[in-house]
């Protein structure tokens, strides 16, 4: 177990924490934050495993993470704008307890 795998393990842990938050929190803003935490975990796994290439890290995962960051930022921004709209229309930015 060397250093890249150590970081990748923490990336998976962060991903799982985000996954629990995403499914258990009814508030939309908390769901968005959880989604970002999940994303951070995945990015950490990618960047950590890129270091397996040796002294200079594999640049392809780095480029993919850079792409992912921008997509996650734009998705979050759109999600927050949607959440604000939900709050304006229904008075609260929460999903109902049981979704039926």
């Amino acid at each position: 177990m060397n250093l890249p795998f150590f970081y990748a393990c923490f990336g998976i842990l962060i991903f799982l924490i985000g996954l629990i938050g995403l499914t258990l929190q009814p508030h939309i803003l908390k769901k968005l934050i959880s989604l970002n935490i999940m994303g951070s975990g995945i990015f950490l796994v990618f960047v950590a495993l890129a270091k397996r290439a040796g002294l200079s890290a594999d640049p392809i995962p780095h480029a993919m993470v850079l792409t992912g960051l921008v997509v996650s930022v734009s998705a979050t921004a759109l999600g927050i704008i949607l959440a604000i709209r939900v709050k304006q229309l229904y008075g609260k930015a929460e999903l109902p307890e049981d979704g039926r």
């Binding site: 393990c9 996954l19 629990i20 594999d58 640049p59 780095h62 792409t67 921008v70 930022v73 734009s74």
Partner: protein
């Protein structure tokens, strides 16, 4: 404890068990990943002289895997279009500053941030940097102005603003499809012009990304200019 709450905690525990199983699978697969892997880095190093830039990450983003980045710029634009449809710009006026130190600082800070953004853009050619980082820094300057002095930006829905927002995706698409005319394939830049083309794409994308992120922060479409 009432019935709905019990129901909730039952599903909560089930979910945590499921997540633990899923996590176990992830750790198990991580355990089986080979300890040393070069990935595609040897291939990238081999083709670096053809890429027109000296930075490997920039070469991958704009050249080797240009298709990803083209779609990414489109995703950013689509997010802004979505925001435009949903709501008009709404800024919290209570944060507008009258603090003279802040107003004085802004005068010097914003030009410096714009310069740094340009420097990061240029840096993308040979080191870590490029359009997305530069665009994010540029958006930082815009957000600062939006919070502290929104009147100084005077954002209005206009042809110029639309042009800035579309120039990045437009130039990228144009340069991506241009090689078809000369019998090549999509994103196959001509060998002699590849450096300058990447620089142009990055510069245009920086402007578009900066303004797009700033408008996303502002929360939607700016007010119409004809009033």
């Amino acid at each position: 404890m009432d019935k709905t709450n019990q129901f909730h905690s039952f599903w909560g525990i089930t979910l945590i068990v499921l997540v633990c199983l899923f996590g176990g699978m992830l750790f198990w697969s991580l355990w089986h990943i080979p300890e040393y892997s070069e990935g595609l880095s040897a291939m990238v190093t081999k083709h670096m002289p053809d890429s027109g830039v000296k930075s490997e990450v920039t070469a991958i983003l704009l050249n080797f895997r240009g298709y990803d980045t083209l779609l990414e710029v489109a995703v950013l634009f689509a997010a802004l279009l979505g925001a435009y449809q949903i709501s008009p710009m709404h800024l919290d006026k209570s944060m507008v500053q009258s603090n003279p130190i802040m107003l004085y600082l802004i005068q010097y800070l914003v030009p410096i941030i714009i310069l740094v953004s340009g420097y990061i853009l240029w840096l993308g050619g040979h080191a870590a940097g490029g359009a997305f980082q530069a665009g994010a820094v540029l958006a930082g300057a815009g957000v600062l102005l939006l919070i502290v002095r929104p009147d100084s930006l005077n954002l209005k829905h206009s042809v110029y603003l639309n042009f800035i927002l579309i120039i990045g995706p437009l130039i990228f698409t144009l340069f991506a499809f241009l090689p078809i005319l000369t019998g090549g394939t999509i994103l196959e830049y001509p060998r002699q012009l590849v450096g300058i083309m990447i620089l142009l794409i990055e510069a245009a994308s920086t402007l578009s990304i900066g303004f797009t992120l700033m408008l996303l922060f502002a929360g939607g479409r700016p007010p119409s200019g004809d009033n």
